[in-house]
């Protein structure tokens, strides 16, 4: 079975490709890349996708995604979450283990894989917990989790408060070759907080989460990675201080990697204040990349997320981190919630943003506004996450599984959560005009999103 992806512009940071080319997929694998203008290929394909006007890139790999199944199927299921992933151009998603029950046993990992095999639209890779029950007290059976198919370990949602436990987890993981994904937050500093501490927090009378809560926790994680040699991956980096610590750690060879989310790369705490107050105050220190919609009400709970939306200076540090490789990956931290979880007082609302279906368009704003080049973004969306987990994906190299996204970077659309495949309609971007849509998403050569391939070449 041969599929020809014709007429697109291929960008594959894994092999430095950035040119007009056609792509031949055969039996689920990348078979040939034919630069445009080269000699016409001799093969005949049974199916064709017309990628004119589109970028053809390795399918995105989300290191950080909450699929909520089992236990919170009212928020999301594997079926809806992976469909959302496919629509967003993701071909692999890592399912965070804070389900009910948590993914803290080999049986739970196997169950998740079975459910994913039955109902998943894209590839689902389980993340196991670091500690039993995510309670932070005793290590989970990391070796057995790993044997069952867990690709990494995380107590995400909560930090591992006890530094001794984190040290042991890292040390233990060195024999498994799997990273620890750290939700880095010093809870003594951030307890009961609502949003980033700063002028907007002060004027809104909300409880502040200071940048120092993340910076202090990241400092500990780096010190422990240095001590143990274990691979420490910092989740959802949101502060300039953490970026700087990670940069310096990498420079001296500490095994640390890091991710940032689309929302932390584009939005600031001005979004919590809503359109009227944000425009009235227009604080330059909180100027977001995507402007606050004028009609966004204040205290909109869709802007409540952990870690919180930060400031302009943090945004710029994250962009610089992406450019110089300090921030390896862009991960969504897709956190779907129900209407009931969110339509309440700001201080009671569940934190999180439904991000799979807006991630591509949101990060393309970085490209459109000239702050981060497209190949850098695509490297952070596919190749780097694959390398962090040691996966054979995230690349269009010949012979590799044909996980491909074909997206139109200019397609203009208005975010309409009601049209999401995800059950989580909780996005602050509702009603915002963005650019960039995945036209097709292919997992191992199969179209999982987009119109069916046309017959013939």
């Amino acid at each position: 079975m041969r599929l020809w992806i014709r007429g697109g512009w291929v960008i594959d940071p894994s092999q430095g490709l950035n040119q007009a080319a056609d792509l031949l997929v055969e039996d689920g694998r990348i078979a040939q890349i034919v630069p445009r203008g080269a000699e016409a290929p001799s093969f005949v394909a049974e199916q064709t996708l017309d990628a004119s006007g589109c970028i053809v890139a390795p399918g995105f790999i989300d290191l950080h995604c909450h699929l909520r199944e089992p236990g919170e199927e009212d928020k999301e299921t594997i079926a809806t979450g992976t469909r959302a992933a496919a629509r967003g151009g993701f071909t692999t998603v890592c399912a965070m283990p804070n389900t009910i029950p948590p993914t803290d046993t080999a049986a739970a990992v196997r169950q998740l894989r079975e459910m994913a095999a039955q109902r998943g639209v894209v590839r689902v890779l389980p993340v196991g917990t670091i500690t039993k029950g995510r309670a932070g007290k005793e290590l989970a059976e990391l070796a057995e989790l790993s044997e069952a198919g867990a690709v990494a370990f995380s107590d995400d949602g909560s930090p591992v408060v006890d530094g001794r436990i984190m040290r042991h987890a890292l040390l233990y993981s060195t024999m498994l070759g799997r990273p620890i994904l750290s939700h880095s937050e010093e809870r003594d500093l951030s307890a009961d907080s609502d949003m980033n501490e700063g002028p907007y927090c002060t004027v809104l009378g909300l409880r502040g989460n200071p940048a120092a809560a993340e910076v202090a926790a990241v400092a500990r994680e780096i010190a422990l990675a240095e001590l143990t040699g274990g691979h420490m991956h910092i989740c959802h980096v949101s502060t300039a201080g953490a970026v700087e610590l990670i940069r310096r750690a990498k420079a001296r060879g500490v095994p640390v990697t890091a991710e940032a989310t689309p929302h932390h790369l584009t939005l600031t705490d001005a979004w919590v204040a809503g359109g009227r107050l944000a425009s009235q105050l227009s604080l330059p220190e909180s100027e977001p990349l995507i402007p606050v919609p004028p009609d966004l009400p204040p205290y909109h709970t869709a802007t409540r997320v952990s870690p919180p939306l930060r400031t302009r200076c943090d945004l710029e540090a994250l962009w610089e981190g992406l450019r110089d490789g300090t921030i390896d990956a862009i991960a969504t931290d897709h956190a779907p919630h129900t209407w009931v979880d969110k339509e309440c007082e700001f201080g009671y609302a569940a934190p999180g943003i439904s991000g799979l279906e807006t991630a591509l368009a949101a990060v393309l704003e970085l490209h459109r506004k000239g702050v981060v080049d497209l190949p850098v973004l695509l490297r952070a969306l596919a190749w780097n996450p694959a390398r962090i987990l040691g996966l054979p994906y995230g690349t269009l190299q010949v012979g590799r599984p044909a996980d491909v996204v074909i997206f139109d970077p200019e397609a203009e659309w208005v975010v309409d959560p009601a049209a999401f495949a995800s059950k989580g309609k909780n996005t602050p971007l509702a009603g915002v005009r963005l650019h960039g849509l995945a036209r097709w998403t292919l997992v191992e050569g199969r179209v999982v999103w987009g119109p069916p391939a046309a017959p013939g070449r």
């Binding site: 002060t202 205290y299 339509e343 309440c344 007082e345």
Partner: protein, 319 residues
């Protein structure tokens, strides 16, 4: 009709003073003058809001504000329904949105909301077709208190523009401070925030948002030449949560004493939103001295709340 009247005429809710224009304050104050005149009559009641249902929805314990609102609504002949709930019952699953829909179905025209969570009135306003009057939300805003404070200052000092107001105490947790900051800075007053850094927060945060605001940690310095000195209530739990070493040290540094008041302008007003901890943030002598307008604040509060209820709900009553 002035632009301000148009502004107030368009307004459905009063949730904060951050969206008030200067003319709007004058409009409310003129209306409050009329209401004060009603309150001074032998029979202090007018039929202005007959047939209008005002629900006092209090999700946080309050005696003074609730009574003030109740008195204001009754002086206008509104039907008053008092409703109290503990925030904890909300956490248990009784949603605010559901309650608002119920109040709407019961025919409420105005919801007066007191709530422990900042921003809650905005949620209520999104789900309620009538008017919402914020009676204090978390640390965020207490617009009727801000208005009555400024109204009281204006009655004694005439002009607000150019006056110097010192607010001393637990600024960080105070919705009263925030509403006064919005109102006073919009009307051109200078405001000095005074208290220990743990209860004021970083000066840069306040100065980024409000023009004409200065943070000063020494009360003697802050108070020098002030036209108004406003002391805020100090909650005892601030010491327990580690924001203060001891109550004793707080009193030593920040209690409004006659000696400290003597540093202010001779005509300086002493204010306090209540309830007072006499001997903590304010000494008993100062609380009852000739410069104190604390009791007048309470009286003016009813007039201001009558004015707002009338302006928000009066149209329905006239219809």
């Amino acid at each position: 009709m002035t632009e301000a009247a148009l502004q107030m005429g368009k307004r459905r809710h009063v949730l904060d003073l951050d969206d008030f224009v200067p003319e709007e304050f004058e409009e409310v104050f003129a209306q409050a003058d009329a209401m004060a005149e009603v309150l001074a009559r032998p029979i202090a009641q007018v039929p202005a809001l007959r047939g209008v249902t005002v629900v006092n929805a209090f999700y946080e314990a309050s005696t003074r504000t609730r009574i003030s609102f109740e008195q204001a609504a009754k002086a206008l002949s509104a039907t008053v329904v008092n409703f109290t709930a503990q925030s904890s019952s909300v956490v248990k699953g009784e949603s605010l949105v559901d309650t608002v829909r119920t109040l709407e179905a019961l025919g409420a025209d105005v919801v007066v909301l007191r709530h422990a969570m900042s921003g809650a009135p905005y949620l209520v306003a999104r789900h309620f077709s009538g008017a919402v009057l914020n009676a204090g939300d978390g640390r965020h805003a207490h617009p009727t208190q801000g208005l009555l404070d400024i109204y009281t200052m204006r009655r004694h000092l005439g002009e607000i523009r150019g006056i110097r107001v010192v607010i001393v105490g637990d600024i960080l947790h105070s919705r009263v401070a925030r509403s006064n900051l919005w109102g006073l800075t919009k009307l051109g007053a200078q405001v000095v925030l005074c208290g220990p850094p743990t209860l004021v927060g970083p000066a840069s945060y306040w100065e980024a948002v409000f023009p004409n605001v200065r943070v000063c940690y020494a009360l003697e310095e802050a108070i020098a030449g002030a036209d108004v000195v406003m002391a805020l209530r100090l909650q005892k739990e601030r010491q327990e949560s580690g924001l203060l070493p001891t109550l004793r040290e707080y009193i030593r540094l920040y209690c409004l004493t006659p000696e400290r008041l003597a540093l202010a302008a001779p005509h300086a007003l002493v204010m306090h939103p209540g309830p007072m901890n006499e001997g903590v943030e304010i000494s008993p002598e100062v609380a009852t001295c000739a410069q104190s307008v604390i009791e007048e604040q309470v009286t003016n509060g009813v007039a201001i709340r009558m004015a707002l209820l009338y302006m928000l709900a009066g149209r329905k009553a006239e219809a």
